[in-house]
């Protein structure tokens, strides 16, 4: 087999932090190559390097044995590399044929000829899509077909799929597999990223497993089974020191049941999920992309809009509740701390003190009550000390702080609302090591004080270090509940993949 594409010692760093490190990777002609790893393992970075979205910091890329520099996605397209993203890049208001030939229109287009041409082309690929249909009227699988047809039309020799089956129904998945096999028969190489191990085992010729930005193993699919893949995905050594893993840890007992969720549903993202939360303990919530963890918790805390609520029931200490705004959830003692602090976390024009004080103000009713600067200052001093916010003083603008300190302020803003249930969504994303330790310490402290804490995290060591109880979600549903005493990275990951 000839190698179409090869990476040698490829490293890509963002601001000095490597997302992928010294990777040797190759794709052969006409093979299906699966890329597997946890969230943040470097799969997306790797494929984006291939597709010209990012440039390598060091190392080289070879195309047909000759070194190339792919400087942009359009350059990659010219070289025959196409990437199909999860959300498609089609123009919804145009027909299938127009989308396939987008950018090649002549001054005067005869649509009829375009349609005939498109029909022939689609049939040659054995794709059953009507070229005259509007893209907006197609389902996810057909949209993907159009996207692939466009890639083949541009003479792509290598097509990269990012989570191609995440949004597909079982029937559509079946179509997609057939399609991949047909492309393979035409000599097109395929890289696909997925969390669905069955698909990996059924479809691919070779598997590459990444972990923490490094390549763990590449091998023929016939040499792998589920256990071996899962083991390679999680077997971690470095992180143990930072998170104090391996040391025996006192587990907190179950408190009273403060929240119970039954058969909660929202479209295809949250499917019939059920779980409970208990006071005085940390519940870790793990899942891979598409597990619907954030959405589930956003419904529980009223952050998602009410029209996304598609059924099920939530009980808060025995009362049936349905929060329509975050305010009503907050008043009932549930707060949600976002994973995206810049978009829905802090107020950038305000100081640390004003941000924290805003949390307290939001608990009140009377719009004309006079604010108290002394109270704001007192709150800010107490909470910046408690969380170890590093700044000159509480009047510093939050926008001037580091990510870790901003995160601490956002946490303080929620904590001053005196909640009984706190939901942390990726509490240490984009946060430096020192701040991670302080945030973890704070999470443990509030759980000891009897608050029910939920930590959503994509990072297994974090889940294992913090949780007393672990919920694992897969495809919009909580599928496994593990006690921290029996949980291992392998067991959690095994439940999370499908």
């Amino acid at each position: 087999m000839t190698k179409v594409l090869e990476l040698r010692q490829a490293t890509k760093a963002f601001r000095g932090v490597p997302a992928i490190r010294n990777i040797d990777f190759d794709v052969e002609a006409g093979e299906v190559h699966a890329l597997v790893g946890e969230n943040g393992a470097g799969k997306s970075t790797l494929t984006k390097v291939l597709a010209g979205v990012y440039q390598l910091t060091s190392g080289e890329m070879l195309l047909d044995g000759a070194p190339v520099v792919v400087s942009s996605p359009s350059e990659a397209k010219r070289q025959g590399i196409a990437m199909v993203f999860q959300e498609t890049n089609l123009v919804p208001s145009m027909t299938v044929a127009q989308n396939i030939y987008l950018g090649e229109e002549k001054m005067f287009n005869r649509l009829r000829r375009l349609y005939i041409q498109a029909q022939r082309f689609l049939l040659s690929l054995n794709f059953h899509v009507d070229p005259m249909a509007l893209v907006s009227s197609l389902g996810a699988a057909k949209k993907q077909m159009v996207e692939i047809a466009r890639a083949v039309h541009h003479e792509a020799r290598l097509i990269i799929f990012d989570e191609p089956t995440a949004t597909l129904t079982p029937e559509e998945k079946f179509h997609f597999f057939g399609l991949v096999r047909r492309l393979k028969a035409r000599g097109v190489s395929i890289i696909f990223i997925t969390h669905a191990l069955e698909e990996v085992l059924a479809l691919s010729d070779r598997i590459t497993i990444l972990r923490d930005g490094e390549l763990v193993i590449t091998g023929k699919t016939v040499d792998f089974d589920r256990e071996r893949i899962v083991q390679s995905m999680v077997g971690r050594t470095l992180s143990h020191e930072l998170y104090d893993l391996g040391k025996p840890r006192l587990r907190r007992p179950y408190g009273e049941r403060v929240l119970s969720v039954q058969n909660l549903s929202m479209g295809s993202i949250v499917r019939n999920t059920s779980f409970s939360l208990y006071s005085g303990q940390v519940t870790g919530f793990f899942g891979l992309v598409g597990a619907g963890r954030t959405e589930t918790m956003k419904i529980v805390s009223g952050v998602l809009k009410r029209d996304y609520f598609h059924g099920g029931s939530i009980e808060r200490e025995g009362r049936a509740v349905q929060y329509e705004t975050p305010r009503s959830a907050m008043m009932d003692g549930i707060v949600y701390i976002t994973e995206d602090r810049k978009i829905e976390g802090f107020f950038e024009t305000m100081s640390i003190a004003e941000n924290i004080y805003m949390g307290r103000l939001a608990r009140g009713f009377n719009p004309l009550s006079v604010i108290s600067m002394a109270q704001a200052k007192g709150l800010a001093e107490a909470w910046t000390a408690k969380l170890g916010v590093r700044a000159i003083d509480a009047n510093a603008k939050i926008i001037e702080l580091s990510g870790g300190n901003q995160q601490k302020v956002v946490i303080a803003k929620a904590a001053v609302q005196e909640p009984r249930i706190i939901i942390f969504d990726e509490p240490t994303r984009g946060v430096d090591v020192g701040a991670i330790a302080e945030i973890h310490r704070f999470i443990n402290e509030i759980a000891d004080r009897g608050i029910a804490v939920v930590v959503i995290s994509s990072y297994l060591p974090e889940i294992l270090a913090l949780s007393d109880r672990i919920l694992v979600a897969r495809q919009g549903r909580v599928v496994e509940e593990l006690d921290a005493s029996v949980a291992t990275e392998e067991r959690i990951m095994y439940a999370a993949v499908h």
Binding site: P326, R327, V335, F347, T349, M350, V370, A396, A414
Partner: protein, 340 residues
């Protein structure tokens, strides 16, 4: 050692922030320079009569600017202000002329203003129509309804049973004309509201980052409705002062460029259209510059059309300056689609 260096670096950053000229400062400096230049070059500018006339002529604009400023800080815009003002005041006057008690008529006018504010707020907060289109259309509707059903002639005189009403337009207090006093009092009220009440802090928070305000538990829809009611009531107050000082209310004002002048006053002083930034101070400074400019041009006999041209160019410059100083990055754009 390291932490000391960090501390010094952060201190420098803060110092820089203090020294960095703000839009407010620049506009204030411009107003002073212009004022001095006019005082030296223009005969008759520096007389006390002219100075009082200057402040008086812009005090209505300033009052409207305070209402608009409040909404803009909350990341909205109220283009229906002039229509609300014109129709509510005219309706109140025509009711009083028809024999109703003047106080009652004024209350009915205020009720109408609150209704319009509610409609604006509900459309923006619940139906999620962008504020600029909502208030533009509501303004048209309000004006149309007023002209069609509430009164027939386009100039309504102050009714005979108004009593001492005209005093708030032409009277003096300690030698200061009443419109100036009204402007000052309103500025004080709005300052207190924005700076020292929970409502004011919520408006800033909502303007800064709407999704974050929502997640924090601020009652965003109620707040949006309230802010349009407040801006409407301020417009109503400005309209009453205006009517009292010229003894009538002309509905033709709706067809003038007044709403753009109000926007000019707001944006010029540094109330950013991206929300959350700006103070009452900014609006006062903006009003001052516009006032000096208009007064100087009038003394120089610049025609009305040319004055409009100058104003529009200044507005354009202020908008460009705003978007340079407060750029919309990708994340601000995402916040923009705040769900309520």
């Amino acid at each position: 050692m390291l932490s000391r260096n960090v501390r010094i670096a952060e201190y420098m950053k803060q110092a820089n922030r203090r020294i960095k000229p703000t839009q407010e400062g620049i506009v204030f400096a411009l107003a002073v320079i212009l004022f001095v230049a006019f005082a030296i070059c223009l005969h008759g500018f520096m007389t006390s009569g002219n100075i009082v006339a200057l402040i008086r002529s812009v005090s209505i604009l300033g009052m409207l600017g305070l209402g608009m400023g409040l909404v803009v800080i909350g990341r909205g815009i109220d283009l229906a202000m002039i229509a609300t003002m014109v129709v509510a005041v005219s309706w109140a006057f025509s009711l009083a002329q028809a024999g109703m008690n003047f106080g009652c008529a004024l209350l009915i006018g205020a009720g109408f203003v609150i209704l319009v504010g509610c409609i604006n707020g509900i459309l923006v907060a619940v139906a999620e129509v962008p504020a600029i289109f909502t208030t533009l259309a509501v303004g048209l509707v309000v004006y149309g309804v007023g002209r069609a059903y509430f009164f027939k002639i386009d100039v309504q005189n102050v009714p005979d049973n108004a009593g001492a009403f005209s005093d708030i337009g032409v009277g003096h207090l300690f030698g200061v004309p009443m419109p100036i006093i009204a402007f000052a009092v309103l500025a004080l009220i709005v300052w207190l509201l924005l700076r020292w009440t929970r409502f004011g802090r919520f408006v800033y928070a909502m303007g800064d980052n709407l999704p974050a305000a929502r997640v924090t538990g601020i009652p965003v829809p109620q707040l949006i409705i309230a802010q349009y009611i407040v801006s409407g009531l301020i417009a109503y107050a400005a309209g009453l002062v205006m009517a009292a000082s010229v003894a009538s209310m002309s509905t033709r004002i709706y067809n003038s460029t007044m709403i753009y002048d109000v926007l000019l006053v707001v944006v010029l002083g540094g109330v950013s259209l991206s929300g959350g930034r700006g103070h009452v101070r900014s609006i006062l400074v903006g009003t001052l510059l516009v006032g000096v400019l208009l007064d100087g041009m009038t003394i120089m006999n610049v025609t009305y059309t040319e004055q409009n041209l100058v104003k529009s160019i200044v507005l354009l410059l202020a908008l460009v300056a705003d978007s340079l100083i407060n750029p919309r990055d990708e994340q601000t754009a995402q916040q923009q689609q705040g769900d309520i």
